[in-house]
Each structure stands twice: as structure tokens, then as C-alpha cells.
Symmetry: C2
Subunit: 261 residues, 2 copies
Amino acid sequence: MNVLLVYAHPEPRSLNGALREYAVHRLEQAGHNVEVSDLYAMQWNPVLAPGDNLAWPAGVRFEASVSSRQALENGTQSADITREQEKLRWADAVIFQFPLWWFSMPAILKGWVERVYAYGFAYGVGEHSDTHWGDRYGEGTLAGKRAMLVVTTGGWAPHYAPRGINGPIDDILFPIQHGILFYPGFDVVPPHVIYRTSKVGEAEFEQACAALGKRLDDLWTTPSIPFRKQNAGAYVIPELTLRPELAAGESGFHIHLDQSW
Amino acid sequence: MNVLLVYAHPEPRSLNGALREYAVHRLEQAGHNVEVSDLYAMQWNPVLAPGDNLAWPAGVRFEASVSSRQALENGTQSADITREQEKLRWADAVIFQFPLWWFSMPAILKGWVERVYAYGFAYGVGEHSDTHWGDRYGEGTLAGKRAMLVVTTGGWAPHYAPRGINGPIDDILFPIQHGILFYPGFDVVPPHVIYRTSKVGEAEFEQACAALGKRLDDLWTTPSIPFRKQNAGAYVIPELTLRPELAAGESGFHIHLDQSW
């Protein structure tokens, strides 16, 4: 299979750098083709701007969605954007590896999403009707591919527990896993999170590699998070609220998972 | 009072640009001193890197927290970082205005947080003991200041309702409001969100200005979100899990608000 690893960390001689090396090796040993987008090493430009569309006329009021749509349709995207889209199309699975900075992904990776996720590629896909509100949340360009987050954090696991002060890790990652990955069609497998990174010594690193290796071996068979598909009947269109009889009386991120799975 | 507006949008001739102008005018008319950090206009560099510490030795393994701590202590921070920290110290209130891109802030603003929020400034502040786990979540450098998000989104309000498909807007913004603003000490007032921006015509724009103006007039008196302070007895230290008798049996972001207020 083809695996794309999108990696965001400034220091190769770090825990993240070592885990990245390990992951690539493990995947290649299993016979997969691996491509790495090492955003710091690539000096990825994370700032969405008019220059992303080489044909955007100077002086014209910039609208990001109009500009990215035209650039995608007319082949006038900045070459770095097209390359990343091609990698995504090539991949059967995509791993996003990053340190959790301020409870989200590093800016360099957020800007990768913003620039690569063009209108017509990751959003603005498919028709809108009374029963179908665009190809999104379970449908779209990246449908049929798998995605997984590999996240490190300095904080302790209990700080991210269901009653931990930072909020539950699954809720912190929901805007990414549901809003960035499931949205354009990915099947998202549960994240692999490594806590309290400052305490990772040699023994802990071996354990971390073994745990990550298992997740990579199981990447194709691990059940994905059962996010509800937008156009399969669970939502009222166009309000896109969950039908009252589902998770009746409840609210919050967790109602968008089909717990009957 | 002194108000800092941290603003992230690539096009001044946009709804965001117009609202920004309106906000500055309204605040100045009320007698406040206003400073704007217009990140796109400043060509803000959002990529946290060794160069943020002018004295970080070439070739030495980069550790972000160590580097930013040393740079803050020794006065070797990149000048753009120091300037933004000075604006934060000067401000009595900070408004963060941005379009919601992929369910979070634009990368250029996320990178402002990552670089400006140095160790010793926004984290790594205060002592750790059995009863006090650092000055954070309600204490810290920015305690006594107010913060408010002004957010625009193309999506409809019901899509962000308690049962909307994107998730409740308060939960989407929790990692920012709790994790980025309350963490270093801000009192956070409820966000001002403008939905379905593509449908904002002249009449809607006037309404949007009136609504925003009211929020700005009330900035000093609006009750802040009652996030629980970390070191005031609600959390078990060092696990930092909410004491079992508070919001008993519940979990999720909302338990970190003291609903008895």
C-alpha cells in the first residue's frame, strides 16, 4: 500500500524525529511504499494568500474559496500545493505526526491543511440537494483512504483523561479528526498519543516504538472511528442537526459517533 | 483602557476587514487606546524555529521550551516576538479576530501564539507544589486582562448548534478559549460569532456592526466564562482531574465550567 506521512517537527534529533524514522522503517519493512512530507525540512509555506493561485489578478479583492477553486480548475495552483494534493491522491493511508502545541497542530501543519485543502478538492465537492449536502463528512475526494494521527505531548495522560483539566484528548482532537480528516472523506482510525515526552528515556522509547509499530501493522484492520456520515439519513438537511431520535436529548461532539457500532 | 486587536485575514476589503475597521473606530470613540496586530499586513512569520532565539547555538539540538525560556530570560528573543509580548503586557483587553478555517484559527495566528507564548511568559510560570501546579488556568502573566474572540464562518448557525454536525461552537472554541486564553490567565468573555458570511449584504452588515459594537461597549462588564481555576481546589494535584464530587459522573469540556455561577 502507499502511505504518506505528513510530519511537522522542527528538530530531527527529537523524540518525534526518532519515531518518524522508526515508522518509515517499519512500514517499508512490511512492504509498503512510503512518502514523507517533512514540513520543516521542506520549508513549507503555511500562509494561505493570493499567491497560491498564480493567476489571481493583482489588485482584485481576494476570496480564498473562489481563488483556490479557479486555481484547481485551471491548473494555476502554486506548485507546492499541487504536489501535496498528488501525494494525497496517491496515498492509501495518511499519517499525520506532530507535537500537540497549544492543544492543536503546529501552525506549519495547519497551514498545510489550509493551502492544500482547495475548494473542489477537500471542500465544495458534490451537489447540494434536499437529501445530499455536498460530498463531505464521510464522502469526498479522499474517501476510501485511511488517516491516523500520531501525537506527542508534554502533558500527562490524566490531564487529558475524560475529567482531566485539559479536556479529553478525543474532544481536543475532534476538530482535526472529524473536521479536517472525516470531512473530505477519510476513514479515521483512533489516534496514537504519546504523553509526557520529557520522561521518555531509552526503555520508554523502546516501548513507544513497539506500541507505534503495532498500530502501523494494524493500520489496515483497525476499526475506524464510527463518525456518522452526513448524507446517510442521520442529519436533517439543510440544518444539519442530528435527527432528534438519535442520541436523544444529548449534545456535544460524541453524538456524531454512531455508538451502536 | 488599552485594547489590542490581533487580526488575521488576508484581505482588507473583506467582511473581516470592514468589521475590524468598525471595531477600532468604536473602541476609539469610547476613549480607549487601540493597537492592532494585523498579522497578514505585518507579514508575521508563523513558524516556530531555532531562529526565534537569536542566541541558540548553531548545530545544537533544538528544544522549543528550553530555547524560548533562555531567549526570554537573556533578552535574545527575535524582536518580533518581544514586540508582541510588550503589546500583551500593555493591553487591558485583547480581541482576537479571525475567520474560522477548518474549525480553528488561521495558521498565521496559530503561529503567533506558538512564538509569542514563550516559556516563562505564557507557560512554565510559577512554582509546582502539592497544592499549586504552576501559574496557569486562571493565573499567570496575563491575569487581570480580558480576552474575546470575534469569529466569522461561512457555515450556518445550526451547523454549529448543540446538535449541529460541526459540533457546538463552544466546544470547537474550547481549546482556544480555555487552552490558549484562560491558560496564561486571561478572563475570557463569550465569543462573538458571525455565521454564513457569504449572505452578509448591506443590511446584515449594519446589523453585524451594531451587534459587535454592543459587545465592545460591554467588554468590561460582560461576565467572563466561568472556567474553573486550576489551583483553587477543584482539581486533584498532580493528576489535574476534576474532584469526583464536582460535576459528578460527567466528563467533557463543559465540566471545566463552574455552572453554579
